[in-house]
Subunit: 476 residues, 2 copies
């Protein structure tokens, strides 16, 4: 038993040292490793496979909503960055700069893209002439770079992978509709694929994207009650259109500036999955994005028929579209149980001589630890059903946690108590930056999103009659 | 008629000005545009969709041969590059260098990866300990940067997209087997997906990858008879293992250096497709990778039932897995014919009142211009068959061209005549660099690959008894 627990003992306690638990889990399950350059990460195959599943699910949704993929250059002339004043102010401190190339000093320094509004805007300005060219609905899968002081794998790294949608519309209404549509695509994706409930809503001026008119975000509650910004959708108004001359001749014969949007999610989502569902034994992966959905562990593998039966079952499940792994290594079953639990595989199938005699297989759910015997003859449907149940129950568990940890506060003390207790806290806010800063200083909490409804009476910081209800939380 | 030909007239003549034809075609079909930074390209949706199809086909083959995807950092410390002497000599002149980031000058300059052997080798050195960890079979889909003086979209650009496989093996035999296996995966992919015949074989020392023991390449013949290196597979021996300490404890208890390979293809393949199959009217895309496989052009679209019938047909073909586009824009049929011909769509379907009366549809093949009437009731099978025929016949046409343009030369004059005539030329070579350089100088031709069989008697340059037969050609 002591030996079987060797993995568990290597992971820090999730309740008392969540940051260390996170580092232990991402490294020991081989999701990721630290890159040689400070702040960079190597996404290892087990982590990258999650990203591939995320990409597949999102890419389908983007295409179904009319978007096409394209690819724009990595390097952006510094002069482009400065064309939108707020944008350069927000991103310049974080950019990495190429000054030399091909053995020579460059005439103009080039930024490694931190985001691509400026270079894509430049091309759109060139391509778009008439209302007939609109809307333009593009997306890009790419790496981006933001030089950060404090980094953590997936959550905040100098380089990360993401998708960035960039669209152009003839009217404000259409651009706002796109902004909200993509926010809802993200929300539905998070809910159904990542089993992750999110709060969606507008962000404050302080928290919005540099250069946007308005940013809408989705916020997810992590195991420790902190919030993680899991995706954003920006309404850019005419800010970038004016900076990059994205104009079109409208039906009425008048030249007009267009309206643009941008929206993105990144490999940060992998961190969100880990911190939403993980437990003391390690990762718990939602079946829809799990690289391995079911692992088969042979019991008494040397007994007649067991190895063959396991291989045959693996083939059947694979043919049925289940991402299945047969662990026929020489480790003990107990060792394998721990290994695959730590790696978060949703369903474990044990198959031994007794199971075969009875025409059964023993299935263990990673989320509840519950064991059930299923008919071997009906393995495909049985495993698919089980995976669907795990997916649903992970969502419900996370949703129940988020709902139970949503508090209201009328004073700063109540707000502080709330976030200290690992809650999201709804509170009134007069709308001024000073009060937002005061909350941050007093409770180390930031405005995550505007609440769906204004229920609060007074600003939690200054006591003035509040205009808005905001959800505050500590955040990653 | 003049109006209908407006597109054709905009493309330079393919026979008399192939370089201009290429530029015209890639820009006018919106595959690509020039990026703001010299030597960079923007891959537009129509071009990127080809890349997505290439990725899908290759990724499946990589996974079927046991490889997993991963992602390694973009930035490589300059000191890593210098650990393998030949490697740094080959790539240092082309790298782009990040010297500043996060508002500060970096302690050590960082290269934007021109290829990732050095950073992946560093991680492998850390991860691999025992023979049990081998083989390691990884692939990465990524952008890379090589600062080039002369650039052309897809063929040679500062930044391009590619995949790079990096594998580690316990023995020389296994590493060589992997090298050849991936070369054959590329060959099969080029043949069956791109309809592109290739010559495969080993490259000379002069032409090999910087740091490799041996490079194997696939070379394709373009419309003008020049060769394009379309993919390479490198046997790296222990060169990188020694530079990056990739060692393992073998079964016999002895610490040994491992053997590594790397292999890659890039967005250059899109250039290869264009220059293999294109004709006077523009692109000719192989159905397997064509973004649009069949376009439906309504004839007399305002006549009763036509628009509905076209929409219904598009739905049926889409459901049957055909990438179909219904062009219901307000342009004339003639305009649409030219547009979609220029864009290289393999099959055009015309549907008008008369077709509907007869229960037929008229299909035009892009490759042969042949028109056939097919039963509307059997549209799915009919279009699929037609696409398969186009795919096969494109390959056969390209293969016949390559075969008919394979010449032998015994003298430099014969070799010069051969390449002047747009041929690949087989000739004897003694194996010395001076003779290889002499061929280059005399005929502006380079050694593409060693021929499968040594048939030549004497070195084409010095007349010595030749050790090898080499295929020479002018090359992109």
């Amino acid at each position: 038993m002591a030996k079987d627990n060797q993995f568990v003992s290597q992971i820090a306690d999730i309740e008392t040292d969540f940051p260390q638990w996170y580092s232990d889990v991402v490294l020991k399950t081989k999701l990721v490793d630290y890159g040689p350059v400070k702040g960079t990460m190597v996404i290892r195959p087990y982590g990258y496979a999650i990203w591939e599943n995320i990409q597949k699910e999102l890419d389908r949704r983007f295409k179904e909503t009319g978007h096409e993929n394209a690819y724009f250059p990595l390097l952006i002339p510094m002069s482009f960055m400065t064309k939108e004043a707020e944008h350069v102010e927000g991103f310049a401190p974080e950019v990495a700069v190429v000054t030399h190339a091909g053995g020579e000093k460059l005439a103009e320094p080039l930024c490694v893209r931190p985001t691509s509004e400026t270079i894509i805007g430049t091309m759109y300005g060139k391509w778009i002439q008439s209302y007939r060219d609109l809307p333009v609905l593009m997306n890009q899968w790419a790496n981006v770079m933001r030089w950060e002081k404090t980094t953590r794998p997936f959550l905040r790294t100098s380089e990360f992978l993401w998708q960035e949608g960039h669209t152009v519309h003839a009217t404000e209404e259409e651009a706002m509709e796109e902004t909200m549509k993509m926010l809802s695509v993200y929300e539905e994706f998070a809910r159904t694929c990542l089993a992750m409930p999110v709060l969606t809503g507008r962000k404050t001026e302080k928290e919005k994207f540099a250069g946007a008119v308005a940013t809408f975000g989705m916020e997810a509650m992590m195991h420790d009650g902190k919030s993680l910004q899991a995706g954003t959708s920006h309404y850019l108004g005419q800010n970038f259109a004016k900076a990059f001359e994205i104009k079109f001749l409208d039906k009425d014969g008048v030249q007009k500036y267009a309206y643009t949007t941008s929206w993105g999610v990144s490999t940060r989502l992998i961190g969100a999955i880990i911190m939403t569902h993980g437990d003391q034994r390690g990762l718990v992966l939602p079946p829809v994005v799990a690289p391995v959905q079911a692992v088969i562990v042979p019991i008494a593998a040397k007994k007649e028929g067991v190895a063959e039966a396991c291989r045959a079952l693996a083939e059947r499940l694979k043919a049925a579209g289940v991402r299945v792994k047969l662990d026929d290594s020489e480790n003990s079953p107990g060792w394998k149980f721990n290994e695959w639990e730590m790696k978060g595989v949703p369903v474990r199938i044990e198959l031994g001589p007794r199971d075969l005699e009875n025409g059964k297989m023993t299935c263990a759910r990673r989320d509840t630890n519950e064991k059930t015997e299923l008919e071997l003859a009906n393995a495909e449907q049985g495993v698919r059903d089980l995976l669907a149940q795990v997916q649903t129950s992970l969502y419900e568990r996370a949703k129940a946690r988020m709902d139970s940890r949503m508090k209201d506060a009328e004073t700063l003390d109540e707000l502080l108590d709330g976030v200290n207790g690992g809650n999201f806290v709804r509170a009134g806010w007069c709308g001024c930056r000073a009060c937002e800063d005061k909350v941050k200083e007093f409770a180390q909490a930031t405005a995550r999103v505007f609440a769906a409804e204004d229920t609060a009476q007074r600003c939690v910081a200054c006591g003035e009659k509040s205009a808005h209800t905001v959800v505050f939380a500590r955040a990653y």
